[in-house]
Amino acid sequence: MASEFAVEMQDVVKQFITPEGGILAAVNHVTMQIKDGEFFSLLGPSGCGKTTSLRMIAGFELPTSGKILIHGKDVSQVSAFQRPVNTVFQQYALFPHMTVEQNIGFGLEMKGVPRAERSKRVSEALEMVRLPGMEMRRPKQLSGGQQQRIALARALINKPEVLLLDEPLGALDLKLRKEMQLELKTLQREVGITFIYVTHDQEEALTMSDRIAVMSKGVALQIGLPEEIYERPATKFVADFIGETNFLDGVVRAQNGTIVEIDLPSSGMVQVESSRKFTNGQQVSVAVRPEKLTLNKTVTDGNNLKGRVEEVIYIGTDTHYGVRFGGSHKVRVREQNVTQGHKELAKTGDEVTVSFTRTSPRILTE
């Protein structure tokens, strides 16, 4: 292999002309490197540019500027049918006029593989997706989950250098989706092919991926391991999109080494550990996850803020408490219901103390 990276996007821009005649940058100067054998997810809300990025790697769209490399080879201007990648489409895009065997064997047929060998490899591929003996069925005779597996087999049989998946589980119901998530992950480990997976489901991305790129408005905001993305989000958007986050807006008052003192107007002062440098008077946002807050369990060497409970929501595994501090700041505290027999820690209207350590929040500036 010419490069350790399966796919590289170098400063890629894709512009579209809108119906109103304006220019829309669906992908705006995106640079990312996807390692060989990696399960890489492009995560973001609809319109963030994740599908356009995938389509450019597949070759269905050509970049306006920038380069796309597959194993070190520049394919920016190469047609889709000549690229060593295969795609699993959102609605599967199985050929309705062909049998399952003809569908799966299509790629081999295009490569000129003789019929006998094709047939043998198709049944192997069907074994792999656990649908043996389905050769003579037509796509419309299959359930959504089965069509999904056929689409997967049709792509993987060609042994692509990279497999692209465009929200492949979006059309399945929740239970089947969970099953397929695990199955896809296992399959990816078995075949060892690089997967690039587009999804808007943050939980799906966290569960399956080796690394994730979070995209918004055509920009890759953060690329990293699932735990990095979750524990150390780079921007407010990432913190908000992945899981739930409390944002406490305040002003930096002092910094002693790694301890930053932040004034939350009318709510109190908090201390947060950060290796970054801040200037006094700088506007920042203290981002802290609901599960990292505790109710009425004061911490020494940490932050304890007084507030009033505004709402209590019981959701089975957890109970969520909405607490308002003196000022405009409001947080959600998540307490796990670990004891047998549910007992609320506080009721609506109660005065409580919300505590968190110095290391649990992140200070975000954008």
């Binding site: 597949a58 070759g59 269905f60 047609s79 889709a80 049918f81 000549q82 990648v85 295969n86 795609t87 489409f89 609605q91 895009a93 199985l94 050929f95 309705p96 006029h97 062909m98 299509f106 790629g107 295009m110 490569k111 037509r138 419309k140 049709r154 792509a155 060609n158």
Partner: protein, 303 residues
Amino acid sequence: MLKYFRGKKNLQLFGLIGPGALWMLILFNLPILIVLFISLVERGRAGGVKLPPVYTLENYTQFFNACATEFSGPGCDPLLYIGIFGNSVRIGLIVTLWCILLGYPLSYFIAKQKPLWRDALMILVIIPFWTNFLVRTYALKQVLATEGLFNSFLMSLGLINQPLDLLFNEFAVVVGLIYGYLPFAILPMYASIEKFDHTLMEAAADLGAPPWRSFLRVMLPMTMPGVVAALVLVFVPVVGAFITPDIMGGGKVEMIGTLINRQFGVARNWPFGSAMSLILMVLVLVGVIYYFRSSTEETRRAM
């Protein structure tokens, strides 16, 4: 039959389709029976049929052997009518092929446009129907005439010195028929192509198919119902056409339609005209059904 009408649903269904069925019975099937009757009797002296009717199969044998009549003399070609029929089928195939070759890309182009623009283009395709077919054919004749628009245009460009003989030959007839029947090819093909999911072409490309193979293996088979409908809608009326060959061919291009037309006019041989009409109908029907079955079997199973 009685059992069929016992269900209330079926009775309602009959109420809905009954009027249409009755219309077809009286105005379509009955006339065919009349034509069948006329084809089986001897001709009258001044047109019509001899009364009381004298039954005969001569009108049919005459089609297959043109010399089997009282008027045939030396130098008679027994395959005269078969030849004319064959010529009609040949012209029918040429016109159908051209209509599909010209219509398919056009349908594709229209189907790819934004909705508003698409509707406007489809109206442009249909607009010629608002003008009488005869008038349009005469207009086209003027375009192709010796001193017509087309020749004058080419001469003014200096591409030719002598006007081309574009009228009163098979070329003129074929051009006239393509002009007249192209919309019948476009409409069903457009309907098929418009429904076609273009993602399937991306899927084919993704699996390594160059554009032409994607077209042949995916798009063409999936839009085949439209192509077959176009083929039937163009081929059937073109084989039996008589206005266009009459006007554009100027009597020099003989087709089965013009021949039949003549039997009811100057030749005053209604029985022979009727017999040829029925032969034409049966042969075209058999051909079309055969083609329809063989080409759509594959597609029908998938849909």
